[in-house]
Amino acid sequence: MKHTDMLWRAASFAVAASFIGLWQLTANLKLVSPVFLPGPDKAWAALLRGFSTGDLSEKLLGTLEHMIYGWFAASIVGIALGAAIGSSKAMRDYVAPSLELLRPLPVSAIIPVAIALFGLSQGMALFVIAFGAVWPMLLATIHGFAAVEPRLYEVARTLHMSRLAVILKIALPSASPDILAGMRLSLTVALILSVVCEILAGLDGLGHWVLLSARAFRSADLFAGVILLGVVGYVTATAMSIAERHLLRWRTSGH
């Protein structure tokens, strides 16, 4: 069973490699103008060059910084606010519908407002990223709190637990799968908004890098930046699912 899985995986890598080969062939035969489509060899060379001069690693760090700070701020606010709203019936009645109303708003539309408030600055980027990333976590936390097994609350009442203890010991652990799913979704949102903010405000980061490369028609650098952004997306999502599995281990281990 394990053996066939490995074989499938290898075949799947071979398919991906043949797509890259096809891309190389297209570029070599100049079927698409090399101004738009550099070959994978050129993109790879640009990637290595960017890292050896340190330009690209600096931009990569910039993007990671925006993304992680914004996401982290959003996590704290989202979970705290979600816990406050989710653990109170009155808050759920009065506040939650307004939040549901705001949910379909395309979050990037807040960018002009943030620019008007903060200017084209790091603070603006942080605000936008945090604002965008907070929704999935906030709504997931509220939903998770609302779905807690009612008997657990009855137990808490019998034990005379304080509201804070109920939140920390019962509601948060029980809502953690929802919250972690929300955090994973937020990570994607944070990456997209980081790129947008860097493009708009010229902040140091991969978004700025790809835009400048495009303006100068340095397509190999442009593709290097896009590939790196894909890697960032992949690595952060994978790290999040590993963390998720690790944190939720107690649910399946029969405690």
Binding site: W8, R9, A11, S12, F13, V15, A16, F19, V35, F36, D93, Y94, V95, A96, P97, S98, L101, L102, P104, L105, P106, V107, S108, A109, I110, I111, P112, V113, I115, A116, L117, T188, L191, I192, V195, V196, I199, L200, L206, G207, V210, L211, S213, A214, F217, S219, L222, F223, G225, V226, I227, L229, G230, V231, V232, G233, Y234, A237
Partner: protein, 254 residues
């Protein structure tokens, strides 16, 4: 006691009133905020002019075109991957490699390849819509009752007939859920493209209002964009409920 139906309205009403009073009392002059009454006035002015409607048309046209192309590609790939286990496993690495690329990162590539306008925006929206459609329709097809597929085999349906007569009807409720998700992503991506680079549509209009320091108009556009997002979502939810009833909510096979 407040009647139950009014409870959700209380918070927004209080906030709007408080904000209006605060701006009046402090006699606020700002480039970034405006009192609700001024926003309402700007909204009425914009609604009676032509610019807002042109921008709305541009945004919706790009959104819907990108959504149509992206979900068609995503759906056909998703069905093919869901039916054929071999194809699914062979494509695994390729899909895992392309999917995490944030759609907005393609903006500069689309810009130099296609220039400003509808085309670049449609391409990016389509790219963003492929993935939810592909992943969820693959799961929907994979979740079809196996006996239905056995029936198809017994009846010796051709692959095309199998897709048309068995797979699509059985997976349709869940495919529609995927489509609804793709539609909300499409609108977000379209507006984001316009805000970042593309000088058409509502995103460009709200940026223009900001740059002209018209806070009232900017916030009116923000509300308008929110209303469009809300209406799109509500319309699709309504369509889902009336087309599939409870089957869509259960998410399973009918």
């Amino acid at each position: 006691m407040i009647p139950h139906g009014l409870k959700p309205l209380l918070l927004p009403a209080v906030l709007i009133a408080a904000f209006e009073i605060w701006t009046r009392v402090t006699n606020m002059q700002s480039d970034s905020l405006a009192p609700p009454s001024a926003i309402a006035a700007a909204m009425i002015e914009a609604l009676s002019g032509g610019e807002l409607w042109t921008a709305t048309r541009d945004t919706l046209a790009s959104t819907l075109a990108g959504l149509a192309i992206g979900s068609a590609i995503g759906l056909s790939l998703g069905i093919a991957l869901g039916i054929s286990n071999v194809f699914n496993r062979l494509m695994e690495v390729t899909i895992e490699a392309i999917r995490p690329i944030p759609s907005i990162a393609l903006l500069p590539i689309a810009l130099i390849a296609l220039g400003f306008g509808y085309r670049m925006e449609i391409v990016i929206v389509a790219f963003a819509c492929i993935w939810p459609m592909l992943i969820l329709s693959r799961a929907a097809v994979g979740g079809i009752e196996p006996r239905l597929m056995e029936v198809a085999r017994v009846l010796r349906l051709t692959p095309a007939d199998r897709v048309r007569k068995i797979v699509i009807p059985a997976a349709l409720p869940r495919i529609f859920v995927a489509f609804r998700l793709a539609a909300s992503i499409a609108l977000i991506v379209a507006v984001t493209c316009e805000i970042a680079i593309n000088p058409i549509g509502l995103g460009a209009s709200i940026m223009a209002a900001q740059q002209a320091l018209r806070a009232d108009l900017m916030l009116a556009y923000l509300i308008w964009i929110g209303a469009i997002g809300y209406l799109l979502n509500a319309g699709l939810l309504f369509a889902q409920a009336s087309l599939f009833g409870r089957a869509a909510l259960a998410g399973g096979t009918p």
